[in-house]
């Protein structure tokens, strides 16, 4: 993207204070300057710190689950404790890590810069969203400390509303408050993309990351309030026994499932569509090509967001839902595979004849494509009603959504973190360590979750910690994989933290990438741009530059011949 601000890096207006480059990191100091900041970049960093903490808490539970499952007997923890372990793993990972991961961290940091804005439209609401997130996460964490919750992350009634004796109310309150954080982020991004684009930044010049965030924000704004009211009704039922969801009181538990999945299925797309945006950026940069079929990739995000609201019933094929409703839900679920496949095909087409370099972000992106493909295709097994009856609530489902959520979203998030880390921190991490981490995570992930497809197909139900002895081999493979995965994550955290202290200073554009964020210094200054950029070309103009270079080389050659 060529703009009038290309000269900023060299521009003398970047003032040096004590010989250091001025940036958002040293614009002010002290804990207050962070906790009361209205800067979208600092809020993104605050989110990053918090979701990493929640990821580690969720990861500890995952580790305990895998440890318990190495033996067929329930010998490490009791059944009650096991119920709590998988519930708290799910609640922490879904509500407090996956949902805010790409939008709230990378989106907050990069989105305003990408469209040439000085900040999001509502900086105060942005800070408020972080506090809602922190408050919600703290309540959920408090519920864990006090003794945990055992309903499963889905809070199915009437167990959650009437019978469970664990800290359901507190956890529900935490998830409810956290919902405000999603909604505020969504409202902010929608408005920012509509109203804050720099001159010349037309809709079809937007980086695909922005389209993905936009589609995600629509889901956040339209889906989150429905789960909010649903969980509120569960809370009221728990406190007052109002009887809306408990059949013993005249209520309907299936209604709860409809209302819950009306949000929570679109929420699955909150947990993957922003990742698609990251992958588009990374694939284009490391293939040195414009994304193949830009408008198809852009609109497929919107199509997924829209269709995502019409498929919730595929979680309920084995409930009392009408068979005919089930058929419609099944068909629309197949339909979602179309825009998703458009993305996968277009990314591979982008790489075709590109000059691919395998840096860490690209390794994660390639891992994403492979793993997400498996996750997506196994989703089709589950959206077929007949096979779902067999596979429902087995480890096949567990493996499927981990391939989508971890193999998809976590890989995309890590790809994005590695891609924009030099921009966020101004430091270059050790590429060798980064690549080793990516390979370890990819290997460990497959070793952990591929055996679970087999286990599920053979009939191992999810949420059980006692199983027949003949499945122990596969479970041991899975646990061994989890250890590799944990080492991979530890290496990645070490690699990034180490770069903060020992890493080389990053130039404005270490990847030679296109996009407004690469035309300002690393790390950016407080207000992002010294002057408002004017955009004059499409996104991903990688080939133009290479053509110019080739022409120049050819011209040089002719000149030499002439001499």
């Amino acid at each position: 993207m060529t703009t009038t601000t290309t000269a900023i890096n060299e521009s003398p207006t970047v003032t040096k204070t004590n010989g250091r480059q001025e940036s958002y990191l040293n614009a002010s100091y002290g804990i207050r300057s962070w906790l009361l900041t209205l800067d979208h970049k600092r809020i993104g960093v605050l989110y990053l710190i918090c979701i990493t903490a929640f990821f580690m808490i969720g990861g500890v539970f995952a580790g305990l689950i895998r440890l318990e499952l190495t033996t067929p007997q329930g010998d490490l923890v009791s059944s009650e404790t096991y119920n709590k372990l998988f519930t708290m793993h799910g609640v922490m990972m879904i509500f407090f890590f996956l949902i805010p991961s790409v939008p709230a961290v990378l989106g907050n940091f990069i989105l305003p810069i990408m469209i040439g804005a000085k900040d999001v439209a509502f900086p105060k609401l942005n800070l408020l969203s972080w506090y809602c997130f922190l408050a919600g996460g703290s309540l959920a964490f408090l519920a864990i400390l006090l003794g945990g919750i055992d309903t499963g992350w889905t809070f199915y009634t009437p167990y959650s509303s009437t019978y469970s004796n664990s800290w359901v109310g507190l956890a529900l309150a935490g998830v409810f408050i956290n919902g405000f954080s999603s909604i505020l982020t969504g409202v902010n991004f929608l408005t920012t993309v509509h109203k804050m684009r720099a001159p010349g930044m037309t809709w079809f010049r937007l980086p695909l990351f922005i389209w993905a965030q936009y589609a995600t924000s629509l889901i956040m704004v339209l889906g989150t309030p429905v789960v909010a009211i649903t969980l509120l009704l569960v809370l009221l039922e728990r406190v007052f026994g109002i009887g809306i969801f408990d059949p013993a009181l005249g209520g309907d538990p299936i209604l709860f499932q409809h209302m819950f999945w009306f949000y929570s299925h679109p929420a699955v797309y909150i947990m993957i569509v922003p990742g698609f945006g990251v992958i588009s950026e990374v694939i284009a940069c490391f293939s040195r090509k414009a994304i193949f079929g830009y408008s198809f990739v852009a609109f497929s995000s919107l199509a997924i967001a829209l269709l995502g609201f019409l498929v919730w019933g595929h979680h309920m094929f084995t409930t009392g839902q009408s068979l005919y409703a089930g058929m419609v839900f099944s068909f629309i679920t197949f339909l979602i595979a179309v825009p998703t496949a458009v993305k996968i095909f277009n990314w591979t087409a982008t790489m075709y004849r590109g000059s691919i370099s395998l840096d860490s972000p690209m390794l994660y992106a390639l891992g994403f494509i492979g793993l997400f493909l498996i996750g997506g295709l196994t989703g089709l097994f589950l959206s077929t009603m007949a096979t779902d009856i067999h596979l429902h609530d087995t480890y096949f489902v567990v493996a499927h959504f981990h391939y989508v959520m971890v193999g998809g979203m976590v890989m995309a998030f890590l790809s994005g973190i590695h891609f924009w880390w030099p921009k966020m921190t101004g430091r270059i991490y050790n590429e060798g360590m980064g690549k080793t981490g990516a390979i370890l995570i990819f290997t460990g992930f497959n070793l952990t979750f591929f055996p679970q497809f087999v286990l599920g197909y053979m009939g191992m139900p999810r949420r059980y910690h006692v199983y027949p002895e003949e499945w122990q081999g596969l479970h041991i493979m899975s646990t061994a994989g989890a250890i590799v995965l944990a080492i991979g994550y530890a290496l990645l955290v070490f690699c990034l933290l180490y770069s903060l202290f020992r890493g080389e200073r990053a130039s404005a554009n270490p990847w030679k990438a296109k996009g407004l964020e690469w035309e300002i210094p690393s790390p950016p200054t407080l207000h992002n741009f010294d002057s408002i950029p004017i955009v004059t070309s499409e996104a991903y103009a990688y080939e133009e530059e290479d053509v110019t270079l080739a022409e120049k080389a050819a011209a040089d050659a002719t000149e030499e011949v002439a001499h």
Binding site: K118, D119, A121, L233
Partner: protein, 222 residues
């Protein structure tokens, strides 16, 4: 880009007041879309149970005091007028008039909540609050009646919370109006507050017929 944070009403990250106004407006509409989905969840659940337990819902509707409901509807429609006038005054830059119209809106809002308190306390005395203490002596299934009252309290209660937030917002706006913050060039907080208040009114316009009117037999006295 200079570093001064606020010069007049224009915030530093906007280019001009026009952009700031449009952003605030769009943000408010997105927020209202979110609110529609929030109340929509309850309206959806209400519809399911009305269909399922028709008789109980009809008897429930008949038991609600229609005169109080009608009075509250009139109060809220009047408050829609006052808040619309407040927005108009803001567009014309008449600070004094904004203040008066908002005070009028506030009085009407408090009156609405007062009527709601009367209705709720009436239910309290008759043990019609859906809790373990719920008592119903009619011919229908008490569990079904309890579900009707659950929806009555959940829906009107959530609406009342939105009214209280609206009144709180006026307490936040009024000192700013007195300080002369708003003018014909900059009035988007007043306008967006107006949008919010109208939205809350419209929710009641749906609640009143759903809870008090449909299935009602006019000759049954209360």
């Amino acid at each position: 880009m200079t570093t001064h944070a606020h010069e007049g009403p224009l915030q530093h990250h906007f280019d001009d007041l026009r952009q700031q106004y449009e952003a605030a407006n769009m943000g408010m509409w997105a927020f209202i879309a979110q609110e529609i989905m929030f109340f929509g969840g309850m309206f959806g659940a209400y519809t399911v149970y009305r269909y399922k337990y028709m008789a109980a819902f009809v008897e429930g509707s008949n038991s609600l005091p229609i005169q109080w409901g009608a009075l509250n509807t009139a109060i809220l429609i009047a408050s829609s007028f006052t808040v619309a006038m407040a927005v108009r005054s803001a567009q014309l830059g008449h600070a004094r008039a904004i203040l008066n119209w908002l005070l009028g809106t506030m009085v009407l809002g408090v009156a609405f909540l007062g009527v709601k308190v009367i209705e709720y306390s009436h239910k309290w005395h008759h043990h019609l609050i859906p809790s373990r203490d719920f008592r119903y002596e009619g011919l229908l299934d008490p569990g079904q009646m309890k579900i009707f009252y659950s929806f009555y309290f959940a829906m009107t209660g959530m609406h009342a919370i939105h009214m209280i937030i609206g009144i709180g917002l006026m307490f936040w706006l009024i000192p700013k109006i007195r300080r002369g913050t708003y003018s014909a060039d900059y009035y988007s907080p007043i306008e967006n507050f107006g949008l919010y208040w109208h939205f809350v009114d419209i929710v009641w316009i749906f609640l009143f017929p759903l809870l008090y009117l449909i299935g009602r037999e006019p000759w049954i006295s209360i």
